[in-house]
Amino acid sequence: MTPIDMTELARRAAEEGILDVAYATVDAPFGRMLVAATPRGLVRTAFDKERTDDVLTELSSRISPRVLEAPARLDGVRREMDEYFEGKRTEFQTPIDWQLSQGFLRRAREACAAIPYGEVRTYKQLAIAAGSPEAVRAAGNAMARNPIPIVVPCHRVLRTGGGLGGYGGGLECKRWLLDLESGLMRL
């Protein structure tokens, strides 16, 4: 037993409005993920490949250094992600805090968030949906550096002609997610 009660600290900090970034981990089928939220909503998800320290440091400098591990604050999104990975959920209801996405990046990511489960788009189509048909490369960039993978489903965006394109979680992971959504996977 540890004398340090993090749950109580996070609860009181949240109550007082001084818990600016809460984070927790989620066990995904392809490895552990980190999820982080502000009082406004989900702000960051990260694959295991990104080191936790780096992600937390980034959140600390871009949002606020008031960062605490507080799984209870992320119960909703953790449950939704579990259900999604089990093939039991096709849409995320959890609110999103878009503050890490500005300008065109934000438009492209919001357009991505609107792609329905089980469907795919090309980077070109995403650029059009984001209101800048010429910005195909920028749309690719917006996906490559998506701060909220899985929930903002950048895995649903492919290269024209059907090539997988890239993926922050690795191409194997992208293929796994597309298989999951196409119903190909036996769960």
Binding site: P3, I4, I18, L19, Y23, T57, S64, P65
Partner: protein
């Protein structure tokens, strides 16, 4: 300034702060004091202008909470008997008769002894925390130990 995520401070120094608090106020009140210390630190954290000694900064806040706790204790009725064991991994130093003697020392000596032996700080850092020179910190530890010894021999 780029401050580390607050959770990192807790991971690095949280236990040490708790040990210091347990030495100063006893194992029961230490949990409350720890929460108060961390909340106060979290409140002030974004405004911090100097990140060179975050450990000393946390312990300084803890030292203030110890003072608050002692003031509150003086207003409280006489405490009951002795504290029950609460299943720590290893018995905290705070639970022995020796540490109870430490808690009866004058404010500065108690803080200095606890910082030296429960939080394992060097004298310069102790001076930082209790707001005196390194030499005075050493003197406070020495006087505190002498005080405990006198009570021990009696």
């Amino acid at each position: 300034m780029r401050l580390p995520p607050f959770q990192t401070l807790i991971d690095l120094h949280g236990r040490e702060v708790h040990r210091y608090l347990a030495a100063c106020v006893g194992p029961i009140d230490a949990d409350d004091c720890w929460q108060e210390t961390m909340l106060a630190a979290l409140r002030a954290y974004p405004g911090l202008r100097d990140d060179r000694n975050l450990r000393g900064w946390l312990l300084r806040i803890a030292a203030r909470k110890v003072l608050d706790s002692h003031r509150a204790a003086r207003r409280r009725p006489v405490p009951v008997a002795d504290v029950p064991d609460r299943g720590f991994e290893s018995p905290p130093p705070s639970d022995s008769a020796l540490w109870r003697a430490v808690r009866r020392l004058p404010e500065k000596q108690r803080a200095a002894v606890a910082l030296r032996f429960a939080a394992d700080l060097d004298y310069a850092t102790i001076g930082d925390v209790i707001d005196c020179s390194e030499a005075a910190a050493r003197q406070n530890v020495r006087a505190g130990l002498a005080g405990v010894r006198r009570e021990w021999i009696r």
